[in-house]
Amino acid sequence: MTQRLGLDPAVVGEARRLATEVGGPIVELARTHTTVSVERAVLRLAGLDGADSEGMPWVNLLTDAVRGSAGLEYGVALPVWDAMAAGGYPDLAALAQDAAAGKVAFRVPEGEAATAAARAADLAVGSGIAAIDARRAERDRMLADIGDPPKPWIYLIVATGDIYEDIPQAQAAAREGADIIAVIRSTGQSLLDYVPEGATREGYAGTYATRENFRLMRAALDDVSRELGRYVRLTNYASGLCMPEIATLAGLERLDMMLNDCMYGIIFRDINPVRTFIDQRFSRQVHARAGIVINTGEDNYLTTADAVDAAHTVVVSQLLNEYFGKEAGLADSQLGLGHAFEINPAVPDSFMLELAHAQLVRELFPDAPLKYMPPTKHMTGNVFAGYLLDAFFNLCGIMTDQSILLIGMMTEGIHTPFLSDRDLALENVRYVRQAAGRLGESFRPEPGGFIERRAVEVLGEAVALLGKISVDGLLTAIADGTFGITKRPADGGRGLDGVIKRADGYVNPAIEILERDGIAAGKDASR
């Protein structure tokens, strides 16, 4: 990776030190609390799937039953596996059915019963983590056998609401050149406190994230990967109230990337900050183990705030995402930090500003598979002007060595892309890649020139903001509206009632295994 900007290593080091200082208390919060979704993810890892006749997942019903009698302060594992033994249940599903019918009195076992329950839980959850390890090994084999496309990876979105419509569209997109397929979720799924079950054919502006939908799409992309001779990656969203569970399902079904931002749900979905940070740490531990690349959502700040004025908030969020990600065990190669080409094209020198921002991020995170998002805010009904703007986005992405390019559609903001919109978008990026693919090797911003000065300025603003946040605390900064202009107090938002302070003696076999073994030896997930 070429260093093109004269960034002061001392300033970069100061930025990382401040990010650690800001993030530390949040990690401590996550280590001392749990959530209903973390506990449900433990049950999913132990193999509990399915739902009752109303469609409510057994993991929800069982977790709620435990919470109602024994409480969740010690985690779900001890009471559940104690009840499994006491009731002689053949499997968790049988226990969950009885528990949902109110037939099980849970308790927090002590002494030998506790030891036995913890051991049984560790075995059951361990087999789920072994399944995730096996899926990761399977991905590594396929990447070696089938072939891994060169970067930048071309990222395309499908979202019909019907998984059986999504599949042929995703396969067509892969044949047209997509290296990554993202299935956009149904609007509002992030606010559901349960994961829907089964294959789904109806969604609002997107398709529900379910385990079965994950499985169907991954299988279809495996077929097309073999056909094309390159491994096509699959992306979904580990965000919202069920972040830990969806991360778990993604690992079990060999998804390759997951949207997983440290603050997106807080800012844009009014999910409680404390809930988010606890859920996030667990979900990132699972992603680390599964070899999944996370994609963060900094691009979203620029859809609300001005892309020039708020450029430094993107950098601050990226540094925080990096700190939280690494603390949870993610390797640099798993940090798909996000940013975007969103400066108003009417601003003078806007392309040079974009180059400065993109190059700054590239140099701050040299080993991260950066995800670069196309213009959306300033795309109008003038599709011709939009096509030009997308070409400049592609050029900026290629000149600054971005790793993942989400392909801009000239009809952004008008409709979900036509087949022809997607085809033209791919023609656009192919042209730029072919015409200027090696331009980066000759891209040398003038020392002390406009681009370098702007990058240094944004980094300086980021350090100043981190310094301020380190004094006030991150939760206070979020409550004060530092990010994305919206104020989100720590005691507000959705999902706070699902946060539980851990008691001494809390047992979570999943976290124990993930922290005991470490991530799978920091293997390079993205190559």
């Binding site: 609007t187 509002g188 844009f268 959306t376 087949l419 022809s420 959705r494």
Partner: protein, 296 residues
């Protein structure tokens, strides 16, 4: 002149461009000729004569994309153009904020909820959350609005008391579930409760708020820029008048506001910007004499 034609480079030449995709293959020479013939047939049926395929490209094995130029044989009679009357202008966010600031001198308070057994917050969240939908940010994004989203299954009496406590200017209720017309009975319960609770009878929305015109979706911005600066109207202290009542959901008929006793009904496809613009129209009117083009 009231009869006109499209203009390419000469008055009256009628020249237009269009692009489209047909589900036909574009492989060998025979297939290509057939595909172009199909495109020309469509162009002719659309009134383009003569028409010329200037670009054709296969997209995968089954589709072909075309760019066609042609002369439209149709005439446009300007005297027959009718412009739908809208009760309020669609305003950009900055102007919504400015109008609130100058008319109210404080934040406009919006209370949102799903009432009855309806647990589907997708609609109210799409309007209120910063995230928004259809490329528009939700009402939380507006600096001059204070949004309180109560979520799902809120009881009407609770909604009334929260509206009083928060000094709500507007109450937004979303209804997705429509079994046995629950959305209609819930809306009537809502309006009856608020009318009973705010007995002073000083409705905030004037008669314009009851008009309930249809046809809100997807129209272009027609923002009036005639905002008079510095003529803030002193707002009466919040809480003494009934909040503007707005209901919305995919099965509502926007024309039935009067029947339901609410001030405004929004149907399928409503965007946050439309709701914000309506709230400004109803609650933060322009000072008189500034020529609000919408006639509100």
């Amino acid at each position: 002149m009231t009869v006109i034609r499209p203009y390419g480079d000469t008055t009256g030449d009628g020249r237009v461009q269009l692009s489209f995709t047909l589900p036909v293959p574009f492989g060998d020479a025979t297939q290509r000729a057939r595909a172009e013939g199909a495109a020309l047939q469509l162009a002719a049926k659309m009134g383009l004569d003569p028409a010329m395929v200037v670009h054709a490209k296969g997209m995968g094995p089954d589709f072909t994309y075309f760019i066609v130029y042609g002369r439209s044989s149709h005439l446009v009679d300007l005297s027959q153009v009718t412009v739908a009357e809208r009760e309020f202008d669609l305003l950009p966010a900055a102007e919504v904020n400015l109008r609130i600031r100058s008319a109210l001198g404080r934040k406009l308070v919006v209370l949102g909820a799903c009432i009855g057994t309806d647990a589907h917050t997708v609609g109210i969240d799409a309007i209120l959350n910063v995230k928004g939908h259809s490329g528009e940010k939700g009402l939380e994004y507006y600096r001059e609005m204070r949004v309180v989203n109560l979520g799902a299954q809120v009881l009407v009496p609770e909604l009334v008391s929260r509206a009083r406590a928060e000094h709500a200017d507007a109450v937004l209720v979303s209804q997705v579930v429509t079994q046995k017309d629950a959305h209609l009975s819930n809306a009537r319960e809502l309006s009856a409760a608020f009318r009973a609770a705010y007995t002073s009878g000083t409705d905030r929305a004037g008669p314009a708020g009851l008009a309930g015109l249809a046809g809100l979706a997807g129209t272009a911005l027609a923002a009036s820029s005639a905002v008079a600066a510095g003529t803030a109207v002193a707002a009466s202290s919040a809480g003494d008048a009934r909040p503007v009542l707005v209901v919305g959901g995919p099965r509502f008929d926007p024309g039935m506001a009067g029947d339901l006793g609410v001030d405004k009904v929004f149907g399928r496809g409503t965007t946050p910007g439309e709701v914000a613009s309506y709230l400004v129209h109803a609650l933060a009117p322009l000072p008189t004499g500034t020529g609000n083009g919408a006639g509100g």
